[in-house]
């Protein structure tokens, strides 16, 4: 018997989830209509969703959305790829990793968002300064996980593969990478959110396009409904990307129990 056996069936769970959503929206609506929560600060759900609808039906949000998603994707895939390569490489080179480890730890504990102004100076106010910020966050997340994954490889499995005749490259492909994958996916769920953070914070700090810019603009005219609309739009896309990661994880880690 596991905890799962005592759960209600999925369709009922989904009904409950929907009810929960409707209930929270309704209470938001009622609380702001009755002015218990001032609408100036808390917005009004109907107006928020009206704003989102207007953005999408008029198409005015698409250029902003496109740029933010592009920044996020580039940061996510770029940071993941670089983190993967660096993690594998350093995980397999004890001397290099001993040499670099205090610096890597220092870099990782540095709040990366303070790099945003530097990236703005280096890469300008366009796309690349946001991508750089996102990469600088995603990279370390993935890197440390891959690094651990490589070091935690089961030594008997490794020895067995060597005895079977694996070359260095084959060891990498057949043992190190699959073994590190568990760790990689654990970090990718965080990386999705962090890639968005990099893009949007970058846009706050200086840009002429993107959802972050849209939010900033709305904030400038105290349009709280548009701010919340931007936040909700971003959340939906981040959630979508996370579901893609989950899907890939299910496929690639099919070998694991459960």
């Amino acid at each position: 018997m596991s905890a799962r056996d005592t759960l209600p069936p999925l369709w009922r769970l989904n009904v409950y989830r929907l009810l929960l959503f409707v209930a929270s929206m309704l209470s938001w609506h009622v609380l702001t209509q009755t002015k218990i929560l001032p609408p100036f600060f808390f917005g009004e759900p109907l107006r928020v969703f009206g704003q989102i609808w207007k953005w999408f039906s008029s198409g005015s949000i698409y250029p902003h959305l496109a740029i933010t998603l592009l920044e996020t994707m580039l940061a996510f895939f770029g940071g993941t790829l670089l983190g993967l390569i660096a993690g594998l490489w350093l995980g397999l080179k004890p001397t290099a990793s001993a040499l670099l480890s205090p610096y890597l730890k220092a870099l990782n504990s540095m709040p990366r968002l303070i790099l945003a102004p530097i990236f703005a100076v280096w890469f300008g106010l366009g796309l690349w300064s946001k991508v750089a910020l996102g990469i600088s966050i995603v990279f370390f997340l993935v890197f440390f996980n891959v690094y651990h994954g490589v070091r935690e490889v089961n030594p008997v499995v490794l020895a067995n593969a060597r005895m079977l005749g694996a070359s260095k490259r084959q060891l990498l492909r057949m043992v190190y990478v699959p073994s590190a994958m568990t760790w990689v996916f654990a970090s990718l769920h965080n990386a999705v959110g962090m890639a968005f953070v990099g893009a949007v914070i970058g846009e706050y700090l200086g840009s002429v396009k993107g959802i972050g810019y849209l939010i900033l603009e709305a904030e400038g005219i105290f349009d709280i409904n548009a701010v919340l609309g931007g936040v909700i739009t971003l959340t939906m896309f981040a959630y979508g990307l996370d579901m893609i990661v989950t899907w890939a994880e299910r496929r690639l880690l099919r070998w694991q129990p459960n």
Partner: protein
């Protein structure tokens, strides 16, 4: 006369202290052992005496502190490419299915995928896992995983087989089935085998020779017994013959004190 498959000459293995202040540990000292081409040799000895250590040395995974290893007359340096090693611990790749594990060695040698799949299917059948090839390891029982490991090694047809308690996790019936299977495979195509086990009956029923190790530290062989029982053997039936019982009594005489010593050392530790 061809060169012996394995010659261990004056092998000692000392491990560095595990923590500051503790002593370095000498697992085996001055072990010399020769395995003829095609010979089946079992090594028995109390737990912790250094059996796996000797196998690691023969496999080239562990460089001995002193002594040399010759494989078919050539000095071993690096990995032993002529040996297949069935580890005591689980060594299969859990991210691969059973058949993908069996295929792994062929894949590493660049054999065509279609051909290696066919050969792996054949080998899965031989170890009694027909139709289970697409199962992931966690979907197989411990005994099934042992059989996958056996197929994974035998498919490469190594000249030397190093087996570290391969059937320890199996029930008696499956175990005897696997033992007979291994003997049949072995006699069809005589490889040299070093077979490690805790089970003296298993050692006698399978081998040409049984080597008894003393309790550690600084363990070494303290007795060698030729097993002149006729082949082919059935491991279950042969245990009931008077010759078997006589050999068993003789070896047990040598072993008993060492086993007791081994236990006492463990209790003290």
């Amino acid at each position: 006369m061809s060169a012996p498959a394995v010659v261990l000459r004056d092998i000692s293995c000392t491990f560095p202290p595990s923590s500051r202040g503790s002593q370095p540990y000498t697992a085996v000292r001055d072990v010399s052992l020769t395995i003829a081409d095609g010979e089946f040799v079992s090594v028995v000895g109390p737990t912790g005496c250094g059996k796996s250590t000797l196998l690691n040395v023969t496999a080239g995974l562990l460089t001995p502190s002193t002594g040399t290893v010759d494989i078919f007359g050539e000095k071993l340096s690096g990995l032993n490419r002529r040996a297949g090693y069935m580890f005591q611990a689980e060594a299969l790749m859990p991210w691969r299915t059973a058949i993908q594990n069996v295929m792994a060695g062929l894949e590493m040698r660049g054999v065509e995928p279609v051909e290696s799949r066919n050969r792996a299917t054949e080998w899965l059948g031989r170890v009694g896992l027909r139709g289970r090839g697409d199962a992931y390891l966690h979907q197989l029982s411990g005994g099934m995983r042992k059989r996958v490991a056996l197929a994974q090694i035998l498919i490469l047809e190594p000249q030397i087989l190093l087996m570290d308690e391969p059937f320890g996790a199996l029930d008696v019936q499956t175990r005897q089935l696997m033992e007979n299977e291994l003997l049949a495979l072995w006699s069809a195509n005589r490889k040299s085998v070093i077979f490690i086990t805790h089970d003296l009956e298993e050692a006698i029923s399978m081998s040409d020779r049984v080597v008894v190790m003393s309790a550690g530290p600084a363990s070494r062989p303290i007795g060698e017994f030729s097993i002149d029982l006729p082949r082919p053997r059935d491991v279950a039936e042969i245990r009931l013959t008077p010759e078997f019982l006589k050999i068993h009594a003789a070896i047990w005489e040598t072993m008993r004190d060492e086993v007791l010593k081994g236990y006492q050392q463990h209790e003290r530790a």
